[in-house]
């Protein structure tokens, strides 16, 4: 199936500015709580910008519109990043930003479908998203619905056996309406992913599982956009995966240089500093 023919949301705001806005909103949410998975949010911002402002079709005023492309956040703790892009896309009202992680907020620390418009699934128990995506892609085909299912997962989730059950299943059922996005920041709870349970060589592994695979720099917007286009243009009846090599804390150099961990510690006085540094790099 050629997915490139579907029209996508466009505007005259550059993807660079979208990505910058996503980073800024994520930092502001992090500041509310004094913590958060900010390293991941800054790292994945470019991929999210390309997803929501280049690839996906959706209606901000109707997040459950039947024709929408489904975007599944398998990695629940990346919620801070998804809230940022959902606000940027107009799906979540921006004035809720300061409620992030608070009691009675619609934006809990880990993403849950029943809390937040635009959050398709409850992630967080890692290794779940791709299997659910397989079922949704099957369901869309049954309905002759041309929407695409995107599943954003982390490199750590590649250690879960369920991911590979789902990968085999997606290929077996010829799910050409399924695109998996892997954030490869080589970082998980106890250290570097490649040192915890190495999943390399990744494109070869996915190809061996029957997928069309690409690997690009996830912080190079042009490369990211090209990878989305290429994934959607594949003619073969197979699912597609894009592995994005990303840099944790991208866009805030003093955090990028910090000893990077799964949960980046940002001191109370550093949030303003981070926002100021980001401001200096604001795209024209």
């Amino acid at each position: 199936m050629n997915l490139a023919s579907r029209s996508v949301a466009r505007s005259n705001v550059s993807l660079e500015l979208r990505a910058w806005n996503i980073r800024r909103k994520a930092l502001l949410m992090g500041q509310v709580q004094g913590q958060g998975y900010i390293g991941q949010a800054l790292g994945i911002a470019d991929v999210l910008a390309a997803s929501y402002f280049h690839a996906l079709e959706y209606r901000p005023e109707d997040p459950e519109w039947e024709g929408r492309d489904r975007f599944l956040l398998s990695i629940g703790h990346y919620a801070i990043a998804l809230y940022a892009v959902l606000m940027e896309a107009g799906i979540l009202p921006e004035d809720e930003l300061e409620t992030y992680g608070m009691d009675d907020s619609r934006m809990p620390m880990s993403g849950m479908a029943s809390y937040t418009p635009g959050m398709e699934i409850t992630g967080g128990s890692l290794g779940h998203g791709l299997g659910i995506a397989v079922g949704m892609a099957m369901g869309l085909k049954r309905k002759n619905n041309k929407a695409v299912v995107y599943n954003l997962m982390s490199d750590g989730e590649l250690g879960e056996g369920s991911t590979w059950e789902a990968a085999m299943s997606g290929a077996h059922h010829k799910l050409d309406n399924l695109i998996c996005l892997v954030d490869f920041n080589d970082q998980q709870a106890d250290g570097k992913s490649t040192e915890m349970l190495c999943s390399e060589p990744l494109p070869e592994k996915w190809e061996a599982f029957g997928w069309h695979a690409q690997r690009v720099n996830g912080n190079d917007l042009a490369a990211v956009v090209h990878a989305f286009d290429k994934a959607r243009a594949v003619k073969d009846a197979k699912p597609r995966v894009i592995i994005f090599d990303t840099t944790m804390c991208k866009g805030v150099p003093f955090l990028e240089r910090r000893e990077i961990t799964h949960f980046v510690r940002v001191e109370a006085d550093e949030w303003d500093k981070a926002l100021a540094v980001l401001e200096e790099g604001k795209p024209a």
Partner: protein, 344 residues
């Protein structure tokens, strides 16, 4: 190595002369003497329901033939997904299909659903309250293959899961009756399954019996003992009651095929009718199943009759022929009758 858990290592089991039987094949039906049987009641009921409801789909993890799903896959191949030996994606994909508006029935063995796929049932299905219907063969002690296949703790596992409805059918009448009610119920359901040639028991004892989701029903009245039973053990209790009647022991049997939500209103009303010994009976470990649920329900209502539980012990059970094992673990008709007699 002399770990206590391996104390039985390599020992030949000693049985009285003349009692040795061969372990039956996995596909053997669970037959009971003196009852008519119905072939593959679940598969046929599902096909009938699916003819009326286009949302219904069938999925299995390489156990279509062993869960009677093959009846559905043959009748409606376009609405069936063979997911392969991959229970985690079986449950996740069922959740995804439910998200897209379908009503998936997913089948496997009870051990694999409850042990291997639990997290996926919990988070992808139950937490989202999605209408996925999980139907699992080999509940409790219905195979002689040993602990790898004996789901002796599945009900305990799923009882703790919010949003789940649990059904432990007794016979073909229950299975045929439960399918449309599982569909009418909006949330997720876990049902135990008897497959192959399944006896029709309940209607023989109570001709107007009809399965009702969430309801316990008196199948047989009696003044000395009240057996509160579920699943296969209602069959055993009814047969034991007939035996005990010959000894002038009058046994009532209250059948509770819905384990969650449990019909405590009916159970409490019956248990409060004074003087009867109350006995629970389940094809499941006594840890966390029907017995403990009934006990907690009665106590919290201030009802404290004489109370005993029949169920499987808190052990990994042995391999062997089912009749041998049912005797060994006290869930044969004879052992049920014997235990009740001993408690009076």
């Amino acid at each position: 190595m002399t770990l206590a858990s391996m104390a039985r290592k390599y020992e030949v089991r000693k049985l009285p002369e003349g009692e040795r039987q061969a372990t039956s094949a996995m596909i053997a039906s669970l037959a009971a003497e003196g009852y008519d049987t119905i072939a593959a009641p679940f598969g046929h009921a599902l096909v009938e329901a699916a003819r009326k409801d286009e949302r219904i789909l069938g999925l299995t993890a390489d156990l279509g033939k062993y869960t009677d799903m093959h009846i559905f896959s043959q009748a409606m191949p376009d609405r069936f997904y063979q997911m392969g030996m991959a229970e985690q994606v079986l449950m996740s994909a069922a959740a995804g299909l439910a998200r897209e508006g379908f009503l998936p029935f997913a089948t496997t063995y009870a051990v694999f659903a409850s042990r291997r796929a639990y997290d996926f049932i919990a988070m992808a299905i139950a937490e989202e309250n999605l209408p996925v219907k999980i139907v699992c063969a080999l509940p409790g002690l219905t195979t002689g293959y040993g602990p790898s296949h004996q789901a002796t703790e599945d009900l305990a596992i799923f009882r703790g899961l919010p949003n789940m409805t649990l059904i432990d059918p007794c016979d073909a009448d229950d299975i045929v009756g439960m399918v449309p009610q599982m569909i009418a119920h909006e949330g997720p359901v876990y049902a135990r399954l008897l497959r192959g040639r399944v006896p029709s028991v309940l209607r023989k004892h109570k001709p107007d019996y009809r399965f009702q989701l969430g309801k316990a029903q008196m199948i047989r009245e009696g003044n000395d003992v009240l057996v509160i039973s579920t699943g296969l053990m209602t069959m055993r209790a009814l047969d034991a009651a007939v035996q005990l009647a010959a000894d002038k022991i009058d046994v009532a049997v209250l059948h509770c095929p819905t384990i969650k939500p449990l019909d405590l209103e009916t159970i409490a009303a019956e248990a409060a009718k004074g003087g009867r010994l109350v006995v629970t009976a389940e094809n499941h470990t006594v840890m966390g199943g029907l017995g403990e649920a009934v006990a907690a329900g009665l106590l919290s209502r201030g009802i404290a009759p004489r109370f005993r539980m029949i169920g499987l012990p808190d052990q990994f059970l042995e391999a062997g022929a089912l009749p041998t094992l049912h005797e060994m673990y006290g869930i044969s008709v004879g052992k049920v009758a014997e235990q009740i007699k001993g408690w009076l």
